[in-house]
């Protein structure tokens, strides 16, 4: 039983069954809390409409947040990093070969120097 489920990770251990049991208990608690919530909710009625300060709801397709709008802040904050990293990915085969050759030369220096 122990051999089946408990993984020795060197400094500690990992037992997925314990984790699943814990998650199940948390799920049951969440369900109980959910069942204590608003009883008057009716699916498919105006209760489901979003309230946008009284303005009419736009078309569904227009409110979907597309991929390009996600993590704008992260990418902006990391602008300096990306400004240097992205241009290295030129798509030019000559550059690919040069990187490979350069790294081979570097490996050779390291391996020979630290032989």
């Amino acid at each position: 039983m122990d051999m089946l489920f408990t993984l020795d990770t060197g400094a500690g251990f990992w037992n997925p069954v314990l984790w699943i049991l814990g998650a199940a208990v948390a799920g049951v608690i969440a369900l109980i809390l959910y069942s204590l919530g608003e009883k008057g909710y009716r699916k498919g009625t105006a209760q489901e409409d979003p309230f946008i300060s009284g303005n009419p709801e736009p078309e569904k397709g227009l409110v979907h947040v597309r991929s390009g709008n996600l993590y704008w802040g992260f990418l902006d904050a990391m602008n300096g990093y990306y400004r240097r990293l992205v241009p290295l990915h030129t798509g030019d085969l000559h550059d690919y070969v040069l990187w490979y050759m350069g790294m081979t030369a570097l490996f050779l220096v390291v391996v020979v120097v630290f032989r």
Partner: protein, 525 residues
């Protein structure tokens, strides 16, 4: 129940069956497409069964030798050979067996998926020929005990892969990606061939065990080591030689991309086999270990950070594949760095290697699954552009569930398999150098963030008008994804069983050069 002939000749059969089927497939397709499907599906099922049979035999009874053309399949050193193992041979130890298991599961899932996902395309005769040759190449690479044969199988794999990357043509972009892959692969293969020439010139041998036994670590050996490390690190997509990976992975059909992941891992296997089995403590293990660790850290960080801004889902996943390869390089690199120090090896070195090797099999399963889900999306909506997707969770529920399983596994979220291997890497690498472990954890968080974005972009939101008629993909495609998802879940729930049965023997076989040599030469020439 299983004929003894099959068990005895399983190393040869697992390569011969797909190889022969590769050339029958186009002819059978001329008779009827259904016959071709039967030939390809049947050949892959038989190959996977034989491969798993061989792997289980290796795990039960130890390293298997198969000498082609010898009086007995295990006669590595004939009496009249001057003590040199002259024939081509397969040396399947537990590390090879692990790679065989990966290939058997992935290739079978992929062929099941392909039979439906590609059915409307033309040129399927060539597609399946190249597919089966890819499988032959991978199986040969991870089984051979002869370094020239390794080169031959690498070439079979590279040529077949290049053909399949270009398969969709796609206005020439896929062909361009294939040319880049092919040129780099050819240069890498030439470097490996040059290294093989050095070994042959120095040691009069092509057998890896004999070369390992005679290894002097001269300047020429150092040159050969560097040529092989650089070529195979490039082939497995290690940063900064990774540039071909997003191009090739994104342009190949998704089913092929799932197999390209396994192909890259076969190169990773070659890298590990070279440093551990050919050189081992003959080289400065700390120096080469750190070299591999640095490649791993660069791959993890650059891979994940380049993935985040991607708009094409397959390019994004390709960068994540690079990032995950970094974990494997990190784990096994730490094991190599302490290879000459038995107390450190026992304290955390083996654990790091086991984590890295466990991550190889985990990554093949969840990344294969993720690429197949990307293919399923493309199958229905015809685009990989994340900006054009949304709301597909309403109509492709099974694909969404499979994506969630793959995404949680790659992000290292419990209880999926990626968590178990990453935890082993974090803890063992922490004992070696805490900074490396922290970097690995941060990369995992960024991976989760990236896949949250992908999940939202593809599946969340209202049903978009342009996709209101989209349906779930056909059942055979779901079955292909389901096999990999099932493995991801089972490996996550029973990590200890997998590590004890498959991974730990592989790590010890890799580290123990003496055992590898003895299995072939039997204690000395």
């Amino acid at each position: 129940m299983i004929p003894p002939f099959v068990i005895e000749n399983s190393p040869a059969l697992m390569v011969i069956v797909p190889f022969v089927a590769a050339f029958i497939a186009p002819f059978s397709g001329r008779v009827a497409p259904a016959l071709r499907a039967l030939v390809v599906g049947g050949a892959m099922a038989i190959t996977s069964a034989i491969t798993l049979l061989l792997a289980s035999d290796v795990y039960a009874h130890g390293t298997r030798l198969y000498v082609f053309g010898a009086q007995a399949a295990t006669l590595a050193v004939p009496p009249d050979s001057g003590g040199i193992p002259v024939r081509i041979m397969f040396t399947v130890d537990p590390m090879s067996a692990l790679m065989l298991v990966i290939t058997a599961i992935s290739a079978f899932a992929v062929v099941l998926y392909s039979l439906t996902s590609e059915r409307h395309h033309s040129g399927l005769g060539s597609y399946y020929t190249l597919f089966l040759l890819m499988v032959t190449g991978i199986l040969g690479m991870v089984s051979t005990g002869d370094i020239f044969n390794f080169f031959v199988f690498l070439e079979i794999l590279s040529i077949a892969s290049a053909g399949l990357i270009a398969f969709r043509i796609d206005g020439g972009v896929a062909v361009e990606a294939a040319i880049k892959y092919f040129v780099l692969s050819t240069i890498g293969a030439l470097a490996i061939l040059f290294a093989i020439g050095i070994y042959y010139g120095e040691y009069n041998a092509l057998n890896m065990a004999l070369i390992a036994q005679r290894m002097q670590f001269t300047l020429l050996d150092q040159l050969a080591l560097v040529l092989i490390i650089a070529a195979l690190a490039m082939k497995c997509g290690a940063v900064p030689m990774h540039f071909w990976t997003p191009d090739a992975y994104s342009m190949a059909p998704s089913s092929i991309t799932a197999l390209l992941v396994v192909a890259s891992q076969a190169s990773l296997y070659g890298l590990f086999r070279t440093v551990f089995s050919l050189y081992n403590i003959a080289l400065n293990a700390a120096c080469v270990g750190w070299l591999i660790i640095i490649l791993g850290v660069l791959s993890m960080v650059v891979g994940v950070t380049m993935a985040i801004p991607q708009k094409n889902v397959k390019r994004l996943m390709a960068y994540h594949a690079i990032s995950q390869t970094g974990y494997m390089l990190l784990g096994v690199g730490v094991g190599l760095a302490v290879l000459g120090n038995q107390p450190l090896l026992d304290a955390f070195g083996y654990m790091a290697m086991e984590g890295g090797i466990f991550h190889i099999i985990n990554h093949a399963m969840y990344k294969g699954l993720l690429f197949l889900t990307a293919g399923a999306i493309f199958f229905r909506i015809g685009t990989y552009d994340l900006n054009k997707m949304g709301g597909l969770g309403h109509s492709m529920k099974w694909t969404m569930i499979f994506f969630i399983i793959g995404a949680l596994a790659i992000a290292g979220i419990p209880p999926f398999n990626g968590f178990a291997s990453k935890l082993m890497i974090y803890e063992s690498v922490f004992a070696f150098n805490p900074v490396l472990s922290v970097i690995a954890m941060v990369v995992s968080i960024l991976t989760l963030a990236s896949f949250v974005k992908v999940f939202h972009s593809i599946f969340m939101g209202p049903v978009l008008p342009e996709y209101k008629d989209v349906r779930e993909v056909p059942r055979p495609m779901l079955a292909g994804m389901g096999i990999l998802a099932l493995v991801v879940i089972l490996f996550g729930i029973f990590p200890s069983l997998v590590v004890e049965t498959l991974v730990a023997p592989a790590a010890h076989a890799l580290a123990d050069q003496g055992m590898y040599i003895a299995a072939v030469i039997g204690g000395g020439v």
